[in-house]
C-alpha cells in the first residue's frame, strides 16, 4: 500500500514542480519584453518592429535571388554550387548577427538578478525548479527570436532556390537547422561567457567586464556584416578546395554551419559531414554549458546577485579628476550637479553602458573597415603618411560618441527617482550648460586625445597637434548641432522611439556621416599637405559658436524645465506603428494624469 501512495505523491510533486517551472518561465519571458524606458503599452509593438527589422534583410534577399539559380544552372552550371554556398552563408551570417545583437541588448536579464532572487527566494519553490523555469524562459526567448528571424526567410528562400522537389523538401529543414544552430552558437556562447564570468569572477567584476564583451560582440557582428562579401567568398573557396585540414574550415564557424546546411540538404561531399559534426558540437556545447551553469550553479548565481559586498563607488583618481574638472571647466553648482550626474549615468547605469558599448563597438568596426583594406593592400606603408584611412578613425569615433551621447540623454534612468530634479530650483539654461559640458568631456576630449596619440605614434607631434585641433573642432561643431534642441534634465523623461525619423532620413544621415568622416578626412589630408589648418578650424569654430549662441538663446527663453515627453507631430502621421502607439500611450497617460502623479 505504501509504494503506490509514494509513487502518487512523487507524481503529484513532479507535476506541481513542472507547473511552477512553467509559471516562472512565462513570467520571466514576459519580463524580457517589458521595460520602464518606454511608455506603458508600447513594448510589445516595439519588440515586433525590432524583430521585423531584423528579419527584413533576409526576406528581401530571398526576393533578390529569384531566378538566380535557374539562370546559373542553365548558363554557368560550374558556378552554381559555389553561389548556393555563398548565399546560404549569407543567411546564416545575418541570422546569427541579429541574434548576437539581441543577446547584447538583453544582457542584464539573461541571468537572475536581485529582484528575481528576492521575489522567488521567499516562495516555497525548490532552486532546481527556479533554475528550470529561468532556463525555460531563456530557451523560449531564443526560440522566439530565432523563429522570427528564420521561418519566413527559410520558406521563401527554399521555394526560390530549390531546383527539384526533393531539394525543396530537404531545403527547409536544412535552412532552419543550420540557421538555428548558428544562432544557438552565438546566443548561448554569449550567455555562457556571462554565466562563467558571474560564477567565476562575481557580479561586480562581470558587470565591469560586460561593456567590453558587449563592445567586442558588436565589433565582431559589424565586422562580419561589413566584410560579408569577402567572408562568403573565402568560405565558398575553402569549401570547394575541400581540404579537411584547412585552418579556415577548422576554425571559421560559418564554414561549419554551411557544412551542416549542405549535409541536411543532401550533398555528396564528404567534407560537409565533418563540418556539420563540428557545427553541431559548437551549437550544442554552449547551450549545455549554459544549462549546466543554471542547474549546478543556480544557488551560487542567486547568492552572487544579493550578496555582493558593498565597496566604495568612487576611486581616488576619479576624485582628483573631478576636482580638476570642477575647478577648470564646470564651476556653477547646478552645472556641476547635472554634469556629474550625466557622467555617472553613462559610467554606471548598466543600460547606458551597454548602449554606449554598442556605439563604440560600431565605431571600432567602421574604423577597422577604414584601415584594414588599406593595410592589406599596402602593408605598414599605409601609416607612413596621413591618408584618409588613417585620418578618419578619430572622426568616426567622434561621430559615434556624439550621436551615442545625444541618443542616450533621451533614455531614462530610474524614472521614479527624478523627483529630486523636479523639486529642485533648476533653470533650463544651467541644466543645458551642465549637459553641454558633460558632452565636451565625453565627446571632444577623447576624440582630441585619440587624434593626438594616433598621429604622434605614426607621424610627428606637429601633425599630431594639428590633427587633434581639427578633430576637436569638428567634434565640437557636431556636439553643438546635436545639442541644439536638447531640453530638460537628461535621463529624466520617458523614451519615445523614432524621434530621429531614422527609417525615413537614413540616406541623409548616411550622407552626413560620410561627409563628416571620410570627406572631412580627405579635406584634412589636403590641408596637412599644404601645411595650414588655421582657416578651416576658425570657420568650424565660428559655426560652433553660432550654434552655441542659438542654444543659449533658446534655453534662456525657455520658462521652465519640462519633464513630460514631447511627441513629435510627425509621429501621428508616419507609418511607424511603434511611434503611433507610443503617442497614444503617452496621450492616455496625460489624460489620466498618472504620469504626473508618481514622481
Amino acid at each position: 500500500m505504501t509504494r503506490p501512495e509514494r509513487s502518487h505523491s512523487t507524481m503529484t510533486n513532479w507535476r506541481t514542480e513542472l507547473e511552477q517551472a512553467v509559471t516562472i518561465a512565462r513570467a520571466t519571458f514576459g519580463g524580457f519584453l517589458q521595460s520602464d524606458v518606454m511608455p506603458q503599452g508600447m513594448q510589445a509593438s516595439a519588440t515586433i518592429w525590432a524583430a521585423a527589422f531584423l528579419a527584413a534583410p533576409a526576406m528581401l534577399l530571398s526576393a533578390q535571388f529569384l531566378g538566380k539559380y535557374s539562370f546559373l544552372q542553365r548558363y554557368y552550371p560550374d558556378l552554381l554550387e559555389r553561389a548556393i554556398w555563398s548565399d546560404r552563408g549569407l543567411f546564416i551570417l545575418l541570422s546569427s548577427g541579429a541574434i548576437g545583437v539581441v543577446c547584447v541588448v538583453m544582457w542584464d536579464t539573461l541571468f537572475p538578478g536581485r529582484r528575481d532572487v528576492f521575489v522567488l527566494g521567499s516562495l516555497p519553490i525548490r532552486p532546481r525548479v527556479q533554475a528550470l523555469g529561468r532556463l525555460g524562459s531563456l530557451l523560449a526567448l531564443f526560440v522566439a527570436f530565432a523563429a522570427a528571424l528564420n521561418i519566413l526567410p527559410a520558406v521563401t528562400y527554399t521555394m526560390i532556390s530549390a531546383l527539384t522537389v526533393t531539394g525543396a523538401i530537404r531545403g527547409l529543414p536544412a535552412h532552419l537547422t543550420a540557421c538555428l544552430a548558428a544562432d544557438a552558437f552565438v546566443f548561448f556562447g554569449l550567455t555562457m561567457v556571462q554565466g562563467v564570468l558571474l560564477v567565476a569572477a562575481g557580479r561586480r567584476a562581470s558587470e565591469r567586464l560586460a561593456p567590453i564583451v558587449q563592445m567586442g560582440t558588436v565589433l565582431i557582428v559589424l565586422l562580419t556584416l561589413l566584410f560579408i562579401g569577402p567572408l562568403r567568398e573565402a568560405t565558398a573557396v575553402a569549401l570547394e578546395r575541400g581540404n579537411a585540414l584547412d585552418p579556415f574550415l577548422r576554425w571559421f564557424p560559418l564554414a561549419w554551419f554551411v557544412g551542416m546546411y549542405e549535409t541536411i540538404a543532401g550533398t555528396s561531399r564528404p567534407i560537409m559531414g565533418a563540418l556539420a559534426a563540428r557545427g553541431a558540437v559548437w551549437a550544442v556545447a554552449p547551450l549545455l554549458v549554459t544549462a549546466a551553469l543554471y542547474v549546478f550553479a543556480f544557488r551560487r548565481l542567486c547568492a552572487r546577485a544579493i550578496e555582493t559586498p558593498a565597496t566604495s563607488a568612487t576611486f581616488p583618481l576619479s576624485r582628483v579628476v573631478s576636482v580638476t574638472i570642477r575647478t577648470l571647466l564646470v564651476r556653477h553648482p547646478t552645472e556641476q550637479a547635472i554634469c556629474s550626474f550625466t557622467l555617472r549615468v553613462l559610467a554606471r547605469s548598466r543600460r547606458h553602458r551597454m548602449l554606449m558599448a554598442i556605439y563604440v563597438g560600431g565605431a571600432l568596426a567602421l574604423i577597422a573597415t577604414a584601415i584594414l583594406p588599406a593595410f592589406l593592400r599596402h602593408d605598414a606603408s599605409v601609416f607612413a603618411s596621413p591618408t584618409v584611412a588613417t585620418l578618419a578613425p578619430p572622426l568616426i569615433l567622434s561621430a559615434a560618441l556624439a550621436v551615442g551621447f545625444r541618443a542616450l540623454l533621451a533614455i531614462p534612468v530610474d524614472l521614479p527617482a527624478r523627483w529630486i530634479f523636479r523639486t529642485s530650483s533648476l533653470t533650463p539654461f544651467r541644466v543645458g550648460s551642465g549637459v553641454h559640458k558633460a558632452g565636451l568631456l565625453v565627446v571632444v576630449m577623447p576624440v582630441a586625445l585619440s587624434a593626438w596619440f594616433s598621429a604622434a605614434v605614426f607621424w610627428d607631434t606637429s601633425i599630431a597637434w594639428r590633427h587633434a585641433i581639427f578633430c576637436a573642432a569638428l567634434s565640437l561643431l557636431l556636439l553643438e548641432l546635436l545639442l541644439l534642441k536638447s531640453n530638460g534634465v537628461p535621463f529624466a523623461k520617458q523614451y519615445i522611439p523614432g524621434a530621429s525619423r531614422f527609417h525615413i532620413l537614413w540616406p541623409f544621415y548616411l550622407s552626413c556621416f560620410l561627409a563628416y568622416t571620410y570627406s572631412a578626412a580627405e579635406a584634412e589630408r589636403l590641408m596637412l599637405l599644404e601645411g595650414d589648418i588655421t582657416t578651416p578650424v576658425t570657420v568650424i569654430l565660428i559655426l560652433a559658436i553660432v550654434l552655441a549662441c542659438m542654444r543659449w538663446w533658446r534655453l534662456w527663453h525657455t520658462p521652465e524645465l519640462s519633464f513630460e515627453v514631447e511627441i513629435p507631430d510627425e509621429a501621428f502621421r508616419g507609418f511607424n506603428l511603434s511611434e503611433g502607439l507610443a503617442a497614444q500611450a503617452v496621450a492616455t497617460r496625460h489624460a489620466n494624469g498618472s504620469s504626473n502623479f508618481h514622481v
Binding site: S340, L426, N596
Partner: protein, 254 residues
C-alpha cells in the same frame, strides 16, 4: 506663510482631492492624515509643485507658487513617501548632487554632508552605492537631502518609514526644533501617535475632501475623543475594524 485655498485635482474624470484649504504659519507643524486613497499624496504633490492643481492655488509669502516655481523650490525640502533614489550612487555622491542642485556653496555643502552623515551613523558607508543600503539608511539619506539647504518649508511624507526607534525619536525632536526655529512643516503619515505628538494642527482627508481641520487638542475635544486615534476612528473609519479582522481570519482558516 504657506496658504492653500480650494486645492482641487482631477485625474481625468476621477477626483483626486477637492477644495482643500489650510494655512501654515512659520513655526507650525501640520499633520496630514487620511486613509489610503484619501488624497494625501495628491495634496503633497500640489504643495511641492510636482502636481499642477486643477483648481485653487498654493501661495508662499503671498505669491502663487506656480508663478515662480524655481524660487519656491529653493525654499522647499521634501522627503517622498517611497525612498526613490539613484541607487547606483553612493550616499555622499547623492547628497553632493542635491547640494549642488540646491546651489549650496561647495564648502558649506561638504561640511553639512559630513555632519549629517556622522549624525545619522552613515560615515562608514558614505562611499558605498546606495543599492547596498538598508531601507532605514536610505530614509536617512532622504532626510539629510531634504534638510541640507535649510529649507523654510519641509514636506515630510512618511519620514519615519523604516527608521529604527532611536532615529525615529531623533526625527520627532528634530521636527519640534525645526518648528521652534520658524520652519513650516507638513507631516503626512499614518502613524497617529507620532502626528499627535509633533503636530500643532491636523488636516484629515477622506475621499479627497477635508473631513476635519483643527488644532490637535481642539479636534479631540470637538469629537470628545481621548486620543487622536479615537478622533480619527470617529471621523473617518466607517467600517467595524474588529469584524473586518474577524472576516479575514475566517477567510484564511476555512
Amino acid at each position: 506663510m504657506l496658504e492653500a485655498r480650494g486645492l482641487t485635482k482631477y485625474y481625468s474624470a476621477i477626483t483626486g482631492v477637492r477644495d482643500v484649504c489650510f494655512t501654515l504659519k512659520p513655526g507650525t507643524v501640520i499633520g496630514l492624515l487620511g486613509p489610503n486613497g484619501s488624497g494625501k499624496s495628491t495634496t503633497v504633490g500640489m504643495i511641492t509643485g510636482l502636481l499642477e492643481p486643477s483648481g485653487g492655488w498654493v501661495k508662499f509669502d503671498g505669491h502663487d507658487i506656480r508663478d515662480d516655481l524655481v524660487a519656491y523650490k529653493s525654499r522647499l525640502g521634501y522627503v517622498p513617501e517611497e525612498a526613490q533614489l539613484y541607487t547606483w550612487m553612493s550616499g555622499d555622491e547623492y547628497l553632493t548632487l542635491c547640494a549642488r542642485l540646491r546651489g549650496l556653496p561647495p564648502a558649506t555643502a561638504a561640511r553639512r554632508i559630513d555632519t549629517l552623515l556622522s549624525i545619522f551613523g552613515l560615515q562608514t558607508d558614505r562611499d558605498a552605492p546606495m543599492s547596498a543600503y538598508s531601507k532605514g539608511m536610505r530614509q536617512k539619506i532622504l532626510l539629510s537631502a531634504a534638510l541640507l539647504h535649510d529649507p523654510s518649508i519641509v514636506v515630510l511624507d512618511e519620514p519615519c518609514s523604516g527608521l529604527d526607534v532611536a532615529t525615529t525619536l531623533v526625527v520627532r525632536s528634530l521636527i519640534r526644533r525645526l518648528a521652534q526655529s520658524g520652519h513650516m512643516i507638513v507631516y503626512s503619515s499614518h502613524e497617529l501617535e507620532m502626528v499627535e505628538r509633533v503636530c500643532n494642527e491636523v488636516l484629515i482627508l477622506s475621499d479627497g475632501r477635508v473631513a476635519a481641520h483643527a488644532p490637535t487638542a481642539a479636534l479631540r475635544e470637538q469629537v470628545n475623543a481621548a486620543s487622536l486615534e479615537d478622533a480619527f476612528r470617529t471621523l473617518v473609519i466607517t467600517t467595524d475594524v474588529e469584524s473586518v479582522a474577524a472576516e479575514i481570519v475566517t477567510a484564511i482558516t476555512h
